[in-house]
Subunit: 205 residues, 4 copies
DNA sequence: CGGTAACCGAGACGGTACGTCCCGTCTTAGT
DNA sequence: ACTAAGACGGGACGTACCGTCTCGGTTACCG
């Protein structure tokens, strides 16, 4: 996605430069449509009409509507608040998971879920999602885990991906796959289980 | 979905009865298309053409292509092999998860993933998925958990949904959300973690 | 049309006889639909539904919707009022033409016009129209012409079809072809012209 | 119909201009279908397929198949040959009527009759027919009448519409309504009658 | 008086065409 | 070179009716 942003090399870049206002209008229109009718309301024609922009201008910079929506979400997505310093890491992980749930329940989250849905049948979108959404978020959460490990609350040799999947997995599973509600109590239990399984043994050195 | 199958009560069933052959041809065609081109090859027109059936016959019984694909998958989905009697429950859960991964990697699984994708923006489909796919499978895996609990390998008070989400969640999360590969080693670690967290304490009675 | 009414010969007619109530309900429903939405509202399905009758019962007795509408009109069409005895024949012809215009402007007439329209591309309907509508009406008007001839108001050798087409033709032409309005004054002039052209010469014997 | 052809004013005409070739291909395909299977062969899908054109290109410029057929006929219809200078006006009117009959008997005429039929139940088509076919033809024939009037063969005060309806009406009536054949002799008699009724009186000044 | 033939309701079925939505490409002209 | 505008070929949608075909149930006639 957004392949054309990174020009092939140091081409001299002649002609009129890209209008930043156009990009802004497109992303704003996309955001509106996303929150009004979900991803399936984000058609190229609707975005172009709403943004007062030609379809050409969309296709010039994005390969398809999914890329636009993804760009919109990733450009505007709230970064994960760290909310550091309060309580132990178990509590901080709980807060992070609960913040994630709140995000997924918001209109934004609706868009994210729609993108997750769409990428199941769109490999290019899947890769973009991975690069622009999944990995950056994982990098952020991984930092909290490193702190917890350094603080001796998580066992030293723990594979960070296994740990993080163990706590985020059940949450997304309910939200995306099974459709069962995700309660705070459920999150507590999942985090507790992770701390039992991966927590540093008290006597261990 | 398939609302019309279960008549409200003992309606006298007048008129020409539904042809089972038509239903069969439709599901067969759907299955073929599903394995050839994934869910996005399952268009109503393609299914009708392949099945030698009128489009109206499809719309008479299913509201849209997703419902057809779902019916196809749920009617033909390999039930979870129990493979009982071999080894401890930890090993049996591992085998179940690995079978799930194999299923999700198959053309069938491609269809299931596509349905999971589509249901993110289609509440009716979401409900059907829940009823026809998610709950039946959960019921099956829950039985294995009960056996494990009775056998004293899982702690008595464990909430079955929490336990099952704790092992299936990470798997689906990788497959559906993050897109990271799911290795056998990953499954082993996740199951191990669950048995640490929810396993019966040796000395406990 | 209504081919099946006249059984091939004196077939013994076994089995349940045709229900007259069904025919009545069908024609009544057709009449309603005709006056509500014109001929194009008279679909087989709509008639059947409105009449509380199976489509089969329609197709058993009529080959298509046009035949039903035609049957409806011809069975219910107001016969041409003779209004005899008042005034000369010129006046009587004027009254007949004006009555015809009133008929064509009524919902019934809408149906007749629709049938005239439909028969342009349906030879079978054209023939039925000719037999069930056109010729009977022509026979009626011809009688008035005969009286006028006998009374010495129309020249003796006049071809009745030429005379009648000369007065009905302009009327229908405006209504069916050109779409121009048909005023009473127009009718007066046309009838006058016909009486000039075909009227008996005063001195002639 | 064809509303969009005549832009409201001097709109700057942005965007890709309408391809005249597409219009041509559509009308040609329509003409073929019209002469092969009559108006009912002119389906939007058939026209599009035959013309090698997308259905959307049809719907972009015409509201329905009737409008296309009408456009086809009006764009290609043989103008009424004047055949001036030969014989008196009575003879010239006869020739015009006979040419009209020949036209109505041709495949073109079949199309015109089909349109006359269709417009009985389609007000928009009726208006278009009136504007694009009826009035232009009437304007042409009216000119001949004017000449005849100036030449002193038709009485001075004659209402042109009454006269023209008096000669064209019976012709169309037979063709469209009653279905009786239109012979040359019939035409002769009708024209004669009109000249008796509306002809200039020899001694009149 | 019991068969049975034709009626009637209901509605499934294969099919044609409809008119619409949106896609992604393209051709203009204007800036 | 970028933009707005929009025509174009195309694919699929979901709907409306068509005319045919089972079904089960219901009469009237005829043997």
């Amino acid at each position: 996605m957004r392949i054309k942003d990174t020009a092939p090399a140091a081409a001299p870049r002649r002609g009129r430069p890209r209008s930043p206002e156009v990009r802004e209008r497109i992303l704003a229109a996309t955001e509106e449509l996303l929150s009004e009718g979900g991803f399936q309301a984000v058609t190229v024609e609707a975005v172009a009409a709403r943004a007062g922009v030609a379809k050409t201008s969309l296709y010039r910079w994005w390969p398809n509507r999914a890329a636009v929506a993804l760009d919109c979400v990733s450009a505007r997505m709230t970064p994960i608040a760290d909310e550091a310093g309060m309580g132990g890491f178990r509590e901080r992980f709980r807060r992070q998971l609960k913040a994630t749930i709140r995000l997924l329940n918001s209109p934004q989250g609706q868009a994210i879920l729609a993108l997750i849905g769409a990428k199941q049948t769109d490999p290019a979108l899947a890769q973009s999602y991975s690069e622009q959404i999944a990995r950056p978020r994982r990098a952020q959460t991984r930092m909290l885990l490193q702190q917890a490990t350094r603080a001796g609350e998580i066992a030293a040799g723990t594979d960070p991906d296994v740990f993080l999947d163990a706590i985020y997995g059940p949450l997304y599973y309910r939200k995306v796959v099974s459709g069962e509600p995700v309660t705070d109590e459920f999150i507590d239990r999942i985090v507790d289980a992770a701390f039992i399984a991966f927590g540093a043994k008290p006597g261990a050195e």
